[in-house]
């Protein structure tokens, strides 16, 4: 097979397979005719009716707000703690047991506690809950990023008597940034999951609330539409994040391309 024919076949497969899967799903659900499994076209219609845009403000906006605020708080705390911990061996040794514990606990185990402690099922509780669990990927990656910095860089800065805060701002932070971004990306995906969990547990609005209500009323169409929405949300947030990352880390890629590995 010529390379050109192979390339053409490959691209057509990349387009054809998703379409075939969609058609198969449509035919299967049509034949099954079960209200629990509506056809993709029905789901798409319901999705359009609900979220484009009649309930967008009531249910999508609150969820997005919780994700963004929770995520932003987590990034600030994660980096602010991660840099000193990355630089201090004793600090790391003291913090690690706590980090390992909170990272290993399944988030839903803390849902009731978050409600008891904060006396809230509103934004305070949702945002704190999201922020808490999103800290760990950022924190761990920041620590690793700081630890991986070339010691000569730090020593050079030190021998030029560059003050600590300048050293952190100009050397440590930029050098750790690619790794920090890797942690942020994990956290963003986690934020969507934790948002759904906390809203599904108890809430009065949001995408998780749509899931909860449609479960309680046995309405399968809005449930599937909400699942679709959450999938799209996860996909778009990740795509958006990669775009930002490419822009912010442009200097880093240029630098890596210029240095032989």
């Amino acid at each position: 097979m010529s390379p050109r024919l192979y390339r053409t076949l490959k691209i057509s497969a990349e387009i054809a397979v998703p379409i075939l899967l969609l058609v198969a799903w449509q035919l299967y659900t049509l034949a099954r005719d079960d209200p629990k499994f509506p056809t993709p076209t029905t789901i798409a219609g319901e999705f359009q009716d609900l979220f484009l845009f009649s309930q967008f403000d009531t249910h999508v906006v609150p969820s997005l707000e919780r994700i963004f605020v929770g995520f932003a708080i987590a990034v600030v705390i994660g980096v602010a703690l991660g840099i000193p911990l990355g630089l201090s061996r004793i600090g790391r040794s003291a913090a690690m047991p706590h980090i390992e514990y909170w990272r290993a606990i399944p988030p839903p185990a803390l849902l009731p506690i978050s409600i008891i402690l904060l006396h809230s099922i509103g934004n305070t509780q949702k945002i704190s809950f999201i922020a808490f669990f999103c800290i760990f990927p950022v924190l761990l990656n920041t620590i690793d990023g700081v630890r991986a910095i070339e010691p000569t860089l730090i020593d050079t800065a030190r021998s030029y008597r560059i003050p600590t805060h300048e050293r952190i701002r100009r050397i440590v932070f930029p050098a750790a940034l690619p790794q920090i971004f890797a942690g942020m990306r994990t956290s963003l995906a986690l934020a969507v999951i934790v948002m759904v969990l906390s809203e599904y547990f108890s809430s009065t609005d949001g995408v998780g609330y749509v899931l909860l209500i449609s479960k309680n009323t046995f309405e399968f169409k809005p449930m599937w539409a909400a699942i679709l929405l959450i999938g799209i949300l996860g996909y778009l947030l990740n795509a958006l994040f990669l775009l930002v990352e490419r822009h912010v880390l442009a200097w880093h890629r240029g630098w890596r391309a210029a240095t032989p590995q």
Binding site: E14, I90, A94, A104, I105, P106, F218
Partner: protein
Amino acid sequence: MPGWVVSVVVPIVSVLAALGLWELISRTETISQRDLPAMSTTVQALWSMIQTAAFWIAFGQTVRGWAIGLGLAAAIAIPVGIALGSSDFAASAFRVPIEFLRPIPSAALIPLLFLTLGTTLKSEVFLATFGAFWPLLVQTMYGVRDVDPIAIDTARSFRLGRVERLYRVTLPSALPYIFTGIRISSTVALILAFTAELFMGTPGLGQRLNFYESFGLNPEIYALALATGLLGVAIHFVVSALEKYVLRWHPSQRKGTTA
């Protein structure tokens, strides 16, 4: 400070300090004892909890959901990952469906499973498997793609067959990636097994938490969360130890090369 002080004494002191702080905050009513039961009260609740058979049955059920979910995910994701990783054509054919299915948080499937499969082990296992499948699949694909082409060509020139190449070259060199996938997936599977129990009422630790919550038994709620965290830590250690053992021949695990 000498090394052993930093690596042994400091963590112990730090954990004890945190537990002491917890006790202090609660006893001085900085946060009321109703909202934050004291550390000693919680540990007492945990102590009497672990003396009941009900706790250990629930514990076993959660571990069972985790184990079956992770096992099934590995049984499906590793072969599929090898197939997609070794064929450029298959990888691009399934790229779009994978990219769209992967970011769907399994949590979104809970209500659907609740109404279709019901409050059964099946729901719990499905959820755990679905969640654990994706990290393993992606890691296996990366691992297989990263196999040194010279090693493959060498094996080919020694006339090793397809199957033998898979066992002797591809699998061993992809194994570190696969184990990273297993580590991630094992955490995910535990989270989802617990989540299924909490939200759907499948028997296990999550269901016990739901029970304590509906009766407002705060010390028990804290004790159970504490126990769940310890289970998470234990599973993490077991999987990491297994990884170290299986990969003991690999440079990343040998002494002197801390990755």
